[in-house]
């Protein structure tokens, strides 16, 4: 799919987001949440590139989120600093956990991630005196780039930041996919034996991908936490991890843009399904995904790219 077309789509999406949130301020929250999700999905897409799917990656979002909450409460740091540190925390955790994960593939990889995330989930829920238990941790709205802002202003600023971060993340991911490491990562999906017989360490390559994915999930988690001013263990529940993968497939795991398209569709279907037919949003989303898997396994982005660049170019 021609890259200038992608830029067009991205630009259009961007403009739409900005216009919409300006027209209807209440939409800022869902849009922010969608962008936060999208960032995390970017992370999961990296793993899917290697043919791996994690049912526990929400743990990095929740790690970063709790990092933000803790530091926000303890030292009243600036929002930008909080995001940076929260993300860094997730990256370090990813680097560490990744050391174990690189040995696993397929269902075992998914399971070990799930296991780790459920341990974290239970710990966060259990040791209330530190983590605020299942009610989670609240923290006051921090300054933004040194400015003390009202909620409206803060969210506008955060939204602008999130958009920039989304573009940056998308660029990084696509650049990574094109790089030697990214290509080797994709090769893990098809043939690790050959990688080894080329003198390339599949584990090291995969570790890199894992750290990147953890970092992006952490970035998403940090933004999510700042949007809400509250973090709860639910952020890391296995169903959340499932949702992230879900969004990746929905949007199309071939391209970072798919992550954000998916995230927006997900967020708004969820929001309106919840408002219109109360208690059935899960069913709606579930059916949507099932249909997608059968008619468009390449996700919304796959469909889109075929529209834009004509059939065949969807790879």
């Amino acid at each position: 799919m021609a890259s200038n077309r992608i830029v067009l789509v991205a630009g259009a999406l961007l403009a739409a987001v900005v216009a919409v949130t300006a027209a209807a301020p209440w939409l800022k929250t869902p849009v922010l949440l969608a962008l936060a999700n999208g960032l995390a999905v970017c992370g999961v897409i990296v793993l899917i590139r290697a043919g791996q799917v994690s049912f526990g990656h929400a743990m990095f979002a929740s790690l970063a989120g709790y990092g933000v909450a803790f530091m926000g409460r303890a030292w009243q740091l600036d929002a930008l600093l909080l995001i940076a540190l929260g993300t860094l925390g997730a990256a370090l955790a990813g680097a560490l956990i990744g050391l174990f994960m690189v040995r696993y593939r397929g269902i075992f990889f998914g399971m070990l991630n799930l296991a780790f995330s459920m341990v974290l989930f239970s710990v966060l829920g259990k040791f209330g005196h530190v983590t605020g238990g299942t009610d989670g941790l609240r923290f006051d709205r921090p300054t933004f780039a040194g400015q003390t802002l009202e909620r409206a202003g803060f969210e506008t600023a955060l939204l602008a930041l999130a958009l920039v971060l989304a573009l940056a993340a998308g660029w990084v991911v696509m650049r990574y996919f094109a790089s030697a490491n990214g290509q080797a990562l994709a090769a893990i999906k098809t043939n690790e034996t050959r990688l080894e017989y080329l003198g390339i360490s599949a584990k090291r390559v995969f570790w890199g991908g894992y750290v990147l994915s953890a970092t992006l999930c952490g970035l998403g988690g940090s933004v999510f936490a700042l949007t809400q001013g509250l973090v709860t263990p639910e952020m890391g529940y296995w169903v959340r991890s499932g949702e992230i993968v879900f969004i990746a497939i929905l949007g199309g795991s071939g391209h970072a843009l798919g992550a954000f398209i998916g995230a927006f569709v997900f967020e708004f279907v969820k929001l309106y399904a919840a408002a219109l037919l109360t208690g059935a949003w899960q069913m709606v989303l579930g059916l949507v995904l099932i249909v997608m898997v059968f008619v468009a396994p390449t996700g919304i982005f796959g469909l889109l790219s075929r529209r834009l660049a004509g059939a065949g170019a969807s790879r």
């Binding site: 899917i48 043919g51 799917v53 049912f55 174990f100 040995r103 696993y104 397929g106 269902i107 075992f108 998914g110 399971m111 070990l112 799930l114 296991a115 780790f116 459920m118 341990v119 239970s122 710990v123 829920g125 259990k126 040791f127 034996t193 296995w238 169903v239 499932g242 993968v245 879900f246 497939i249 208690g279 059935a280 949003w281 899960q282 069913m283 989303l285 579930g286 059916l287 995904l289 099932i290 898997v293 059968f294 396994p297």
Partner: protein
């Protein structure tokens, strides 16, 4: 902790493990044959429980003889489990066998989301609970503590029966052998003329019944509320992963391990209770990536 407390923890652990095992058994059986981890399995547990409760209510409201309550549990499990299992197999799993494993997993996840809401639409959100059976069977004393016969005798008995029964079916019957064959090598089995489609349908129905049976047996002592499926899903998942995917005997031991760890935790360090299953899962997987009881074959090149 003294000897009597030890005994108590043992009792509770075993009866809890029995339920856990039934659900995990279904999950692991399905994986063995389909090579798909059926995330919707948790919903089967929930549906089994709800449906059993519905039957229980029907029995009381239609003033049928109360002794029907216990068989009703089994009937509920067989009907709803078989039904849902069949539907899932025919409408989804059958059609995604050739798809990317990631998509397969996701489809079952989607099915899980759908079933969760359907269940809420059918049975609502009020806690559902019918305990006639337990009261009929009465109680017995152990170390000065009262237990219900139901949890101490019925649950383990059913679990053991299910285990032995499945073993016998897979090992001794022609159909069971076909299932085993497909488990080991689908292509070869097909080449040998095994009707793979039928085997898979059978497996899904059977696995579904086991999952539903877990729920049905839990219904007399547990209030069923939305979300109960998701919790049981991840728990049975922990059991299966600890045991090793497709390991039937292993699942029994893993369920016991987790059940006991949990109940002992309540006595010794209550704060760790919820943590136990996942701690065990992590530790086992770190030491043995394929779980306690399975081994990986080297890749031929």
């Amino acid at each position: 902790m003294n000897a009597s407390l030890f005994v108590l923890a043992l009792m509770d652990g075993v009866s809890y493990a029995a339920l856990l095992f039934l659900v995990a058994l279904g999950l692991t059986l399905i994986f063995g044959v389909m090579r798909v981890l059926n995330v919707a399995h948790g919903s089967l547990y929930a549906w089994g429980g709800y449906f059993a409760a519905t039957l229980g209510l029907a029995i009381t409201s239609l003033t049928l003889p109360p002794w029907l309550a216990l068989p009703a549990l089994l009937v509920a499990a067989i009907v709803i489990g078989g039904l849902l299992g069949t539907v899932l197999e025919l409408t989804l799993l059958r059609r995604i066998l050739d798809k990317d494993p990631i998509l397969q997993l996701l489809v079952t996840f989607a099915a899980f989301m759908v079933l969760e809401d359907l269940q809420r639409l059918i049975w609502g959100v009020q806690p559902v609970f019918v305990s006639g059976v337990v009261d009929q069977l009465g109680t017995l004393e152990v170390a000065g503590v009262t237990y219900t016969r139901y949890q101490l005798l019925v649950l383990p008995a059913v679990a053991i029966a299910a285990f032995v029964g499945l073993r016998w079916f897979l090992g001794r019957t022609a159909l069971g052998r076909q299932v085993t064959a497909v488990t080991h090598h689908r292509e070869v089995a097909t080449a040998m003329g095994v009707n793979t489609g039928r085997v898979m349908w059978l497996t899904m129905a059977l696995g579904g019944m086991l999952g539903a049976l877990g729920g049905a047996l839990a219904s007399p002592t547990t209030s069923f509320t939305p979300g109960i499926g998701a919790d049981m899903m991840v728990l049975s998942f922990a059991v299966v992963a600890t045991a090793g995917l497709g390991q039937i005997g292993g699942a029994a031991l893993a369920a016991l391990l987790i059940g006991l760890a949990r109940s002992f935790a309540v006595y010794l360090m209550p704060e760790l209770e919820v943590l136990m299953p996942y701690l065990i899962m992590v530790l086992v997987l770190l030491v043995r990536p394929e779980g306690l009881f399975s081994t990986v074959a080297a890749r031929r090149i």
